[in-house]
């Protein structure tokens, strides 16, 4: 495999110097003469280099940007050496709230509470503090409630590139009653449509 091009080298340096995904725009600023297509090609060449050489790190496209990450196979070793800690797990209630926001955004607290059937104040604050959701505007109506949406960090947390990587409504199993699938399918449509509208 040939040596890395100067552009690939620049991109590699930038990706190594960041601990978050860098957008194509940010990467493009490294060499203003390079077109977005050239930047993308250089990134792909870089990724191939890491692949080909059997490196323990890889160049991945994530959360709308590019990042170098260690390969999953080495997670145990990295943690054993206490070189890095695994991010703490979130609670089921937190994931439910995140799921509601991800599919319904922009969405207000009242709607989140209606869907989950429990008050959401504490969880919303925690999610905001962790920068997984953010206020994206205000709704109409009484008191003009704050509306929430997910952040790029949310995509990073799940390892997604964008929101369309979330399971589509029709990929979900809604059936509560496996012995009566026709029932479930019928009701599926209704509930799914409501999610897709959101």
């Amino acid at each position: 495999m040939s040596s890395l091009s100067p552009l690939s080298q620049l991109l590699e340096a930038a990706l190594f110097a960041a601990n978050r995904p860098l957008t194509l725009e940010e990467l493009g600023a490294l060499d203003t003469d390079a077109s977005p297509a050239e930047v993308r090609t250089a990134l792909e060449t870089l990724a191939e280099h890491y692949e080909y050489d059997g490196h323990a790190v890889e160049v991945v496209e994530l959360a709308g940007g590019w990042q170098i990450l260690t390969r999953a196979a080495f997670a145990a070793a990295v943690e054993r050496a206490h070189a890095a800690q695994r991010t703490p797990r979130l609670s089921a209630a937190t994931y439910e709230t995140l799921a509601t926001i991800a599919y319904r955004q922009p969405v207000g607290r009242a709607e989140i509470e209606e869907i989950r059937g429990v008050s959401a104040g504490g969880v919303l604050r925690t999610l905001q503090e962790r920068n997984l959701i953010e206020v994206v505007g205000r709704g109409e109506g009484l008191g003009r409630p704050l509306l929430y949406g997910t952040t790029p960090l949310f995509l990073e947390l799940l390892g997604l590139n964008d929101l369309s990587d979330l399971p589509r409504a029709e990929e979900l199993t809604i059936a509560l009653q496996p012995h009566r699938p026709e029932m479930a399918e019928g009701d599926d449509g209704g509930a799914l449509a409501s999610v897709e509208e959101g």
């Binding site: 997670a75 890095a84 209630a93 439910e96 008050s119 008191g143 399971p167 990929e171 199993t173 809604i174």
Partner: protein
Amino acid sequence: MTAPHDAVTTVPSPVLPGFVVDLDGFNGPLDLLLHLVREEQIDIADIPVARIADQFLAAIHHLGLNQAADYLEMAGRLLRLKAQLLLPRRFDDEGWDDPRAELVRRLLEYQQIKEIAIWMARAAERRALSHARGWLPPPGEAPPPPPLELDLAELLRAVEQVILGIPSPTLHSVVARPLDVEGATLRVEALLATRETFDWREALGPHPTLVDVLSTFLAILELAKRGFCTVSQDLPFAAMVVIRELVEPAVPVA
């Protein structure tokens, strides 16, 4: 992306025999209700409300959740639903709306959220196996960023934008101007020196502000307390009249 089909079946079931369930196992009344429905192998579209309502009440009692507002609200809904379904309806009543429809919709919707939540938890777990760059060397000798421009007029326009954007009168605090009781006292004393009685508004000065009014009012009350004057009102809500009191021994008493 794993097929989500196995996701639902592997939902950790916190259930022990009967209603003995893990307190932390439920994320709200819908979760508990969904659990009961599943446990009873009930068709979600045809929930026997009376039975489920009783079980729900028993369960929250058992779990000590009968003080939790979220659960109580659901219990109330179920009991209302139970009562509605007890009302007689005609056999040929084609326009009958199943009062359970709303509950069914919410349960299905919630189940969907639960499934997505499980998918997300798994995605996050996979992602957590990859580590980002940990140690970042301190930035080197970077050229200084271009000098920043900041403009007061622009800042003030921004303040107005912010104020305009506030939806309700949440911004109550206006920078307080200190009351000038001392100055007001001087004005009242000057009037008292020359006049035996006067309308208190005369002591306000030209173009009085709210602050002037309050200052003058306090000044008059203070002077009255110290015995330099009395205050009277001819009628309720009529303007106060300030009357000089003769306290100085030098002043001859008739």
